[in-house]
Symmetry: C2
Subunit: 284 residues, 2 copies
């Protein structure tokens, strides 16, 4: 159960809490966009890395296959290709996340529009209390001025007509001040009720937003970790394959494929010419 | 104990084994260079990735710190920076490996030059056996031709002078053939002994080369795996840090830093003007 942080902390003298909370909601849209932009950039980095790896894997085909070392390049090639594939897989996962974020951003925009309408009454109540607070202040000041003025004239023994005039003004100011005090009480009560509801609504919106965005960040972590495990497997396979290509097997493979023959030069004896038979042969 | 693959497989009719083994040794230099080139390219890829990550980490500073989501960017920033650092560490390790390979390449070149001198006697023995094998063939053919010629003249009852002449030629060819047979026996024995030694020497060189290169590949795997573990730690930290930034804590943090006040608007009562005191005050 999340505490009522917003309900408790957005009051204060100037009654600006509504404004701060409303803008905070709008910042939620910015954070959705920025998170999407961050993941897009990360995806671009992974894609570039993946492409470079694939290119590097291909380049091993140009390495000499002659000599005993030749077969080792296949191990490098396979492993490097697989690394490229792993990072490309991450790119795909991140692209999916960006789509999720875009979809969420659209929903968020709609929800905020709806909220804006729903809290329009609160905005009005804020304006009312800000306005009545000012009016009340002015009315109070005027009331004091007029009372003092009336009192001064009386003390100075001014003309009865002037005193009478001042008394009417003081009475008018008193009524106006009293009206403001009554109106303030009504506006204050309305504001307090609406602001309390709205503050809670803004907190609920914010809470839902943070939960959703954190879910997406969770997917991001999960994708990164999953691919990290796959990459670990590629490294392990590389180590195993390298171990399997023993020095002995490389020497043997080379001897078998490039060998020139197992027979050492044989002894050559003097072979006597059987000239008589050869001559007969020629004659025939 | 590696079997004597080279000693057993590089004989054959044409006695080309020496040539094949000598060139194989030279290919060892190419494979050292190519491996160095491969690691250099891999290092360049890691460096580009590292730079992009560092740039991405910096870009999070431009993300809005306003709103409840603000503090989450710090987690992204730290993690992305660390990823950049991990890959840069791999770059450093690979650069060290390239230096090792360069050093080894120089040693290899020197060793091959020394070997070239050491096996010059074998190269001569190869040339000798190839040359004597040809000469012997020709001498044998000439001997047969001359013997048959002599026999033919005798059978046809040619002039004694001519028969006499042919007999001398046949005798000369016989001696020449016999000399070749003897020479061949000596050359063959020399060749066989030298070629056997050299084949084993070439195998030893190849074995040492493969062991050294596989050691360096082992270091390569080790570096890659080591950094992979560090990267895994960065991912784990990211997940933990994200979990620690709860939705509750984000709402609380926002309320504390951006809160406008805890006091709800107070009641405002009508305050009567103490005009008499006010007028006294003005007078003083």
């Amino acid at each position: 159960m999340v505490m009522a942080y917003f309900l408790d902390n957005f009051w204060g003298e100037k009654n600006n809490g509504f404004d701060v909370l409303y803008h905070n909601m709008k910042h939620g849209q910015i954070s959705t966009k920025e998170l999407s932009e961050f993941i897009r950039e990360r995806s671009a980095i992974e894609e570039a890395y993946s492409r470079s790896m694939t290119k590097l894997a291909k380049s091993t085909s140009n390495c000499t296959q002659l000599g005993t070392f030749g077969p080792v390049w296949d191990v490098f090639k396979t492993s490097t290709e697989k690394l490229g594939t792993c990072h490309l897989e991450l790119v795909k996962k991140l692209q999916d996340l960006i789509k999720d974020l875009q979809k969420y951003g659209e929903e968020q925009l709609k929800a905020h529009k709806k909220t804006k309408e729903e809290v329009s009454g609160t905005l009005e109540a804020v304006q009312n209390i800000q306005s009545i607070t000012q009016s009340l202040q002015k009315a109070k000041e005027l009331y004091n001025i007029k009372c003092v003025e009336h009192e001064r004239l009386k003390k100075e023994g001014a003309a009865p007509k002037e005193i009478e005039k001042a008394a009417i003004k003081a009475k008018k100011a008193t009524e106006s001040y009293k009206t403001c005090v009554e109106k303030y009480a009504a506006v204050k009560s309305d504001f307090e009720q609406k602001m309390a509801e709205t503050a809670q609504k803004f907190q609920d919106i914010e809470e839902a937003h943070l939960i959703r965005v954190k879910e997406i960040i969770g997917c991001f972590s999960h994708s990164v970790s999953e691919v990290h495990i796959q990459i670990g497997q590629v490294h392990e396979d590389f180590i195993n394959n390298m171990e399997n290509i023993t020095v002995d097997s490389l020497l043997q493979k080379f001897a078998e494929s490039k060998g020139t023959g197992k027979e050492r030069p044989g002894p050559i004896e003097f072979e006597e010419c059987n000239a008589a038979v050869a001559v007969e042969g020629v004659k025939q």
